[in-house]
């Protein structure tokens, strides 16, 4: 993994005596907590465990850590590969272990969050329908047609962040079990628009056949593999 000079500098601070072992652990935990939306960045700068560290150096270390974590998660690197920049910058093994344990725990969730930072078409999550029998209207008598109204309920991507922030805000002390409770859902909060249309029974039959075919295709691919 290639890292910039800025990041290398920050990592070398992390291996120096500018910060204690406990301080490093606290900072690493905080960095993961912030990236997984469990904690606000202000918790780092106000934390007692990190109070004695020079603020400018702390910022540099924090920046370096987040860069390494995000790059590793983006590329789906294993914990030992993701740790390489820390080793190269001379960070002692005990401190690296704190990093790699948490990295392994958080990787899945980090990737889900990164995934939700993408964009997507409205994602259909449910459908509602209504069955009407049309009797007559202002211009026609004896219409006598079966008529379906369908509403597809969609969600838009990128809402994951709001959903997590809406949960309970954590503190630096309460984050040790981080990653174990990762949510498996990366879809949003259900605020997407409804797509509504009407169709005849024949049209709905066609639509169902089309969708069934689509489902079959996926099953066929899975079976082939």
């Amino acid at each position: 993994m290639q890292v910039s000079d800025d990041v290398t500098l920050g990592l070398s601070f992390l291996g120096s005596n500018m910060i204690t072992d406990d301080g490093t652990t606290a900072l690493v935990q905080a960095a993961f907590a912030v990236l997984t939306k469990k904690l606000d960045e202000s918790a780092i700068y106000g934390s007692a465990a990190l109070g004695e560290v020079d603020p400018a150096a702390l910022k540099q270390m924090y920046h370096a850590l987040t860069a390494v974590i995000l790059e590793g998660a983006k590329r789906n690197l294993d914990a030992d590969v993701a740790c390489a920049p820390l080793e190269e910058a001379g960070v002692p093994e005990a401190r690296i272990n704190a990093f790699s344990t948490l990295y392994g725990k958080c990787l899945g969730m980090l990737r889900e969050i990164l995934f939700s930072a993408g964009f997507n078409y409205p994602h259909v999550v449910d459908a509602q329908w209504r069955l009407d029998y049309v009797i007559k209207d202002s211009n026609l008598e004896k219409i006598d047609e079966i008529h379906y109204a369908v509403a597809l309920i969609t969600e838009n991507g990128g809402d994951f962040e709001d959903e997590l922030l809406a949960g309970n805000p954590a503190t630096l002390d309460g984050i040790v079990k981080l990653g174990s409770e990762a949510s498996s859902s990366h879809v949003g909060n259900g605020t997407g628009r409804k797509v509504e249309f009407t169709c005849s029974r024949e049209q709905l039959e066609d639509l169902v056949i089309t969708l069934r075919d689509a489902t079959k295709q996926m099953e066929r691919i899975i079976e082939d593999e």
Binding site: V124, N139, E141, Y148, E196, F197, M218
Partner: protein, 196 residues
């Protein structure tokens, strides 16, 4: 009541006209219903047939009304005959009128349906199966996705592109299958039979 007295008066002239003229009036009336009225042709038709312009106008308008009302009520053959009976026309004229009505009733109803209120209507659905492999922020993933394009007859959103994952695709299919099954229940049949 249909046919009313005004319609009877308007159509009273038809009995005295040559059948070729009546045919032409009927054709004009149906054309007006399908494509909109064109009153310019009245003067030409009147001079050709040697009758007053207002007679032509009243006759064609009367026929328009007759055909549109009959189509609106979707009169059967017998009902249509019954409705022509008070006009006391020769049988030949009645038969010609009936034949034209039966030939055009569906087309006229289509025009009338267009004038009615419409909800966004499904026109066509197509799908595509993709696997998303990476994005700017996440590399090396495998995320199978369906894209579903719905073409609607809806001025505001003529087409809409949606995505679904496999689980949602299965769910959507089963929900719509349930909807379809509901149209074949005894209740549905009972309603259709009793209203029809």
């Amino acid at each position: 009541m249909f046919p009313n007295d005004e319609l009877k008066t308007d159509l009273a002239h038809l009995a005295g006209l040559p059948s070729a003229a009546v045919d032409q009036f009927c054709t004009l009336a149906v054309q007006f219903l399908k494509h909109g009225a064109n009153t310019k042709v009245f003067a030409g038709a009147a001079s050709k047939l040697g009758v007053a312009v207002d007679v032509v106008e009243a006759s064609v308008e009367g026929l328009c009304f007759l055909f549109s009302e009959a189509a609106k009520l979707r009169l059967t053959e017998a009902e249509f005959r019954e409705c022509l009976a008070p006009m006391a026309w020769p049988t030949g004229l009645q038969d010609a009128m009936l034949a034209l009505y039966l030939a055009e009733v569906d087309n006229i109803r289509l025009v009338q349906a267009e004038l009615s209120m419409t909800l966004p209507r499904l026109h066509h659905a197509s799908w595509r199966l993709d696997v998303q492999l990476a994005s700017r922020s996440v590399h090396s993933m495998v995320n199978p996705l369906y894209y579903l394009e719905l073409q609607l007859k809806d001025a505001a959103h003529p087409s809409v592109v949606l995505q679904l994952d496999y689980a949602n695709m299965k769910h959507l299919t089963s929900v719509l299958e349930a909807a379809l099954a509901e149209s074949k229940t005894p209740l549905m049949k009972k309603v259709v039979r009793n209203i029809h």
